[in-house]
């Protein structure tokens, strides 16, 4: 499983976001390496199609694919719409959980068995 964590250092919750991601990974019994990228220029945001901090990709897919729709690259904090309709600068644990489950389900059975967890 490929996990990527992109953040803009001006947004104060990026450490909390990473902690949240690690918590859900531990809960699922997963321990993949997390590729962490600090995005701090407009050019970098454009190159990476970074739409706000933090952004988490699991096997290249955004943990909040709906929230990504219609967004263009921005050196800014990202808005997540939570399950109950509230806004947050972080994805919910549930969003991360679903994204991990989706990624594992999309993999061949042999690979799922090798990775364990979920």
């Amino acid at each position: 499983m490929k996990l990527e964590y992109f953040y803009f250092p001006d947004c104060p919750s990026h450490a909390e976001g990473l902690t949240r991601l690690k918590k859900v990974l531990a809960e699922k019994g997963l321990n993949p390496e997390i590729e962490i990228t600090c995005v701090n220029s407009d050019e970098q945001a454009q190159d990476l199609d970074f739409i706000g901090s933090p952004t988490i990709l699991v096997d290249g897919r955004d943990v909040d694919p709906q929230g990504r729709k219609g967004q263009s690259h921005a050196l800014a904090c990202r808005i997540y719409r939570l399950e109950d309709g509230r806004y947050s600068p972080l994805p919910s644990e549930q969003m991360i959980r679903k994204a991990l489950e989706r990624a594992v389900a999309d993999r061949p059975v042999e690979q799922q068995n090798n990775e364990g967890g979920i």
Partner: protein
């Protein structure tokens, strides 16, 4: 961090609002307390706290509080924060307070504001009595343990000292030109 320190007198401003008016601290002279809050449209921290600020504004308006929101962000880099979008947002959220545009960013610089949202609460003499975040949990209103702004407002309205006069502001950085 700050240009405006606790106990300092309010710094004057004269800014256009989304309701087509122009406001200065003098516009609120009859109120016991005045909360000046640096805010914007695009920031998720603002969105997360916004309904709570609206509720506070409504709840304490009749008790002697006025609130004013100021957007100082560079609207060229962040078009969501331009005056047109501010106006639409204030209308959509039915802001019970004026939403002012600090296009030159002079007011934010004078106050030493750094984040959105960032609260500056002034007492009847218009001295700064609270500066910082609205409360201690931007994400979950149900998990708030410290209602910094509400407690400060209550204290000012009752003529008591503010229990926690300063907290670190939490939010997006102000987008400077």
């Amino acid at each position: 961090m700050s240009k405006l320190n606790l106990g300092d007198q309010i710094i004057d401003f004269n800014l256009p609002a989304t309701d087509a008016g122009t406001y200065s601290p003098e516009s609120f002279r009859d109120k016991i307390a005045l909360a000046v809050i640096f805010s914007c449209v695009h920031c998720p921290y603002v969105k997360a706290w916004e309904d709570r600020l609206i509720d506070l504004g409504k709840q304490y308006q009749s008790k002697g509080l006025d609130m004013v929101l100021i957007c100082s962000n560079d609207a060229v880099k962040y078009p969501a924060d331009n005056f047109e979008n501010m106006t639409g947002h204030a209308r959509e959220k039915q802001y019970p307070f004026p939403f002012l545009h600090d296009e030159s960013q002079a007011v934010a610089r004078a106050y030493g504001a750094e984040r959105t949202p960032e609260v500056f609460l002034f007492d009847y003499e218009r001295k700064l009595v609270y500066r910082g975040a609205p409360d201690d949990n931007y994400e979950d209103p149900g998990a708030v343990k410290q209602e910094y702004l509400r407690d400060a407002i209550e204290a000012v309205l009752e003529g008591e000292p503010v229990p926690t006069p300063q907290t670190p502001p939490v939010g997006c950085t102000i987008k400077w030109k």
